[in-house]
């Protein structure tokens, strides 16, 4: 499955997380192919659910719908005036189902979604929306953590991405995606994290040999990017993948972490957190999860 240019972007907001200021950072993608923004606001069922003695809170649903509608009209006017195409969904239900439905109906190329701290804490027990979404959507998902990112997200995340690779067949889709953003991406850092256990028992020479081999493979990837005039730098890190990817993102002052995400028939996010999900939930910068690889980078 190829990852083509981003023509249609789904912007999933609860307003307290992603605002119009964040969306505007993505409008630079118009230079390549972006022409259509679709807004999605999902009213959580428990906010309007049927309660004994109260019934279904229809007036609350109308209030929330209209509040969102007014906000979206304001945003849409600005975008329409710039010659963009805009669509809106305001729905009641489960967030993941509604995102998947919108992706399917609209043929979305990129999903942008916020991940608030409060929400993350509540999901420790119930399972993560991001994890479920990542496993089920065919479109790349860009997650932005709040409030931690709120202060620092002042540039287009695609300017300086850090790409974490683990040599899986589906990872070519990550590169295809970045190549489609030529002219936006200013430079790419490509990283592979070798696990310490893979190095144990080998000599210093052996460790260096491993590094050299990995670096050579990374440099081949950099060559592919540079052939399209996107500057790229290879890095090998050793250690626990999540920690090392965070460290590399800091070292490289990355604006985005990009990683392949697995698609599984049966979602098991409640029981086991994968590396992409862990990164998406903890990273200080946005994380782009690109589906299509059979297992995630850094996972055994």
């Amino acid at each position: 499955m190829m990852s083509g240019p981003v023509k249609k972007l789904l912007f999933v907001t609860r307003f307290e997380d992603l605002g119009f200021d964040t969306l505007q950072l993505f409008l630079e993608l118009r230079k390549t192919s972006l022409e259509h923004i679709v807004f999605l606001y999902v009213i959580q069922r428990d906010k309007v659910a049927f309660q004994r003695g109260v019934g279904y809170k229809k007036s609350e649903e109308i209030r929330l719908r209209e509040k969102a509608n007014i906000r979206f009209i304001d945003w849409a006017e600005t975008l329409f005036e710039q010659g963009m195409e805009v669509g809106v969904y305001i729905t009641v239900g489960n967030l993941v189902s509604q995102v998947l439905s919108a992706v399917d109906k609209e043929g979305i190329d990129l999903v942008v979604i916020g991940n608030s701290e409060k929400k993350r804490l509540s999901q420790l027990v119930s399972g993560s929306d991001i994890a479920e979404l990542m496993h089920r959507t065919p479109a790349p998902v860009l997650t932005i953590n709040f409030p931690s990112d709120a202060k620092r997200l002042t540039e287009n995340p695609f300017h300086r991405p850090l790409v974490a690779l683990n040599w899986l067949p589906g990872e070519q889709r990550i590169l295809d995606f970045l190549l489609s953003l030529k002219g936006i991406v200013q430079g790419v850092d490509v990283i592979h994290v070798a696990r310490e256990q893979d190095l144990k028992g080998t000599s210093a020479m052996g460790v260096q040999k491993t590094r050299k081999e990995q670096r050579k493979r990374l440099e081949a990837v950099c060559g592919q990017l540079e052939a399209s005039d996107i500057s790229a730098q290879a890095h090998v890190y050793v250690g626990e993948p999540s920690e090392e990817i965070h460290r590399a993102a800091r070292d490289c002052r990355s604006s985005l972490i990009v990683i392949g995400s697995p698609q599984k028939k049966a979602f098991d996010g409640k029981f086991r957190k994968s590396l992409p999900v862990e990164l998406a939930e903890t990273a200080l910068c946005p994380v782009l999860l690109v589906p299509g690889s059979s297992a995630a980078a850094g996972e055994p």
């Binding site: 009209i73 006017e77 329409f80 710039q82 010659g83 805009v86 669509g87 809106v88 109906k105 609209e106």
Partner: protein, 134 residues
């Protein structure tokens, strides 16, 4: 034979209102929930007038309006825009698309901002059908 009105809006409450107003005033109606469906019905139903929302999923009224007004077979069908999006933004959107190299389109026959009174909608439909006849 009553005039046929194509109503395009994704909001079921607004659609019910528009349909009731149109039918109570003796018009026949066909309905679509977005621009894509609207264009398909335009081809199939040959309506005499279109009442069009702007902000909708799949295809907005901005795009559907542009298609209507740039297609030879449809450009004479009067279009009443009925939307929460301001007239100013709608006109600017069409100017922007023209600047991006698309064909210039005329202004819509009428523009009503939501919410609209039943009488205003009925009157606007009637007036524009009369104008189109002449």
């Amino acid at each position: 034979m009553p005039a046929k009105i194509l109503l395009v809006d994704d909001d079921p409450d607004v659609m019910l209102f528009n349909k009731t107003v149109a039918e109570e005033n003796g018009f026949q109606t066909v309905t679509a929930a977005n621009g894509e469906e609207g264009l398909a019905l335009l081809e199939k139903e040959h309506p005499d007038l279109v009442v069009l929302d702007v902000l909708m999923p799949r295809q907005s009224g901005v795009k559907m309006y542009r298609t209507i007004k740039t297609e030879e077979k449809w450009r004479d069908i009067p279009v009443i825009i009925l939307s929460g999006i301001s007239r100013r933004s709608f006109l600017k959107s069409q100017e922007a698309l023209t600047e991006f190299g698309e064909e210039n389109v005329p202004q819509p026959e009428a523009y009503l901002e939501k919410p609209v009174e039943a009488g205003d909608l009925a009157r606007t439909i009637q007036n524009n059908l009369k104008k189109a006849e002449n």
